[in-house]
């Protein structure tokens, strides 16, 4: 248990890269890239967790009661999720361009068409 969450994050990252390597479709590859990215969220939040702690919000309880989880890694993850979505959208826009120019989305076919 003591290191299982970190290893889970590693598995999610690795399976995403496996998907990109074996992908036959650029849209599938972009989705796999976003899976790889989500592995880093799990890793960061696992590092920030602490047993017996609650969320770092003090609106309804005294400030020096129960310990809280690490807010720094949560803030990083939070912004990255939203920014990552727009980057995924940018990649998908590029994919739409590729489909229009080349008429295919198979990475193997794209390589043979290069000129």
């Amino acid at each position: 248990m003591s290191h299982l969450p970190y290893l889970t994050a590693g598995w999610i990252i690795l399976i995403g890269i496996y998907g990109i390597v074996t992908s036959r479709d650029l849209i599938h590859a972009v989705v796999c890239l976003s899976i790889t990215q989500s592995g880093t969220y799990v890793l960061l939040l696992a590092i920030g967790y602490r047993y017996g702690a609650t969320a770092p919000v003090f609106s309804d309880r005294p400030p020096h009661g129960r310990p809280v989880t690490d807010p720094v890694v949560q803030a990083m993850t939070l912004t990255d999720i939203v920014v990552g979505a727009t980057v995924t959208a940018l990649l998908l826009a590029l994919t739409v361009q590729v489909a229009k120019r080349r008429g295919t989305l198979d990475p193997g076919e794209l390589r043979s068409l290069e000129s």
Partner: protein, 230 residues
């Protein structure tokens, strides 16, 4: 490279990376341990500034510089995607493609649910942005809710209304303006958490409306066969 070679190469690389990652992870502090020096200092500082949501305090007060960077990445990628899609759309329109107006036949249940949920969702989005400094929430999450809420109108089958409610140029200028306001405020008055939350909320919302709107335009583009009266 053949698929087989590629998979073999990946297997070798993955095995090495997995071994190194596991070795590294086993040396990390135990999961759930009590040692969080940065977290403790961030909580202390947030309480001193009396921002009860520590995560918002880290984002918009203690690490506001960092958030400027994230903001600009968000704006740059949104602009990039919109420009790319505009080029594709323009070429297709020059070749005689037209827009089809979404699903004309929508069941009444879906239509009513769409219309009823729209104001509620917008209200929740505004609430999440406005209370970001006190309770879980903030500009990023509320912006996502606001940006997607408008597209409930498409679910209700009313694409023309959606287009009227969503004039692309207005959202483009608002997006740029909100990004500028955020950068100026973060440099001049980092720590005004509710105001910064609002600016981020407007910017994320506009970016998502633009992105989803452009993708909708692409997806609804149909090519009429030339010479056939429509």
């Amino acid at each position: 490279m053949r698929t087989r070679t590629r998979i073999l190469l990946f297997a070798a690389g993955a095995a090495g990376s997995a071994a190194l990652f596991t070795a590294g992870a086993l040396d990390l502090p135990r999961f759930g341990g009590a040692l969080h020096p940065y977290g403790d200092r961030a909580v202390h500082q947030a309480l001193r500034e009396s921002t009860t949501n520590t995560v918002s305090s880290v984002n918009f007060d203690q690490r506001a510089f960092d958030t400027i960077g994230e903001e600009l990445i968000l704006m740059a990628s949104a602009i990039g995607a919109v420009v790319l899609l505009r080029v594709v759309g323009k070429e297709a329109e020059d070749q005689g493609a037209t827009h089809r107006h979404g699903p004309a036949e929508v069941s009444d249940a879906l239509r009513i649910v769409g219309y009823l949920l729209l104001p509620v969702t917008l209200l929740i989005g505004v609430y999440v942005v406005a209370h970001g400094a006190q309770s879980p929430g903030g500009g990023f999450q509320g912006g996502v809710i606001l940006g997607t809420a408008i597209h409930l109108l498409y679910l209700a089958g009313d694409y023309p209304a959606l287009q009227r409610l969503r004039p692309i140029p207005v959202f483009e200028s608002t997006e740029a303006l909100a990004a500028g306001v955020f950068v100026a405020m973060a440099l001049a008055a980092a720590g005004a958490v509710p105001a910064l939350n609002g600016a981020v909320g407007v910017e994320v919302g506009c970016a998502l409306v633009l992105l989803i709107g452009k993708f909708f335009e692409q997806a609804l583009l149909v090519r009429e066969p030339p010479g056939e009266p429509s």
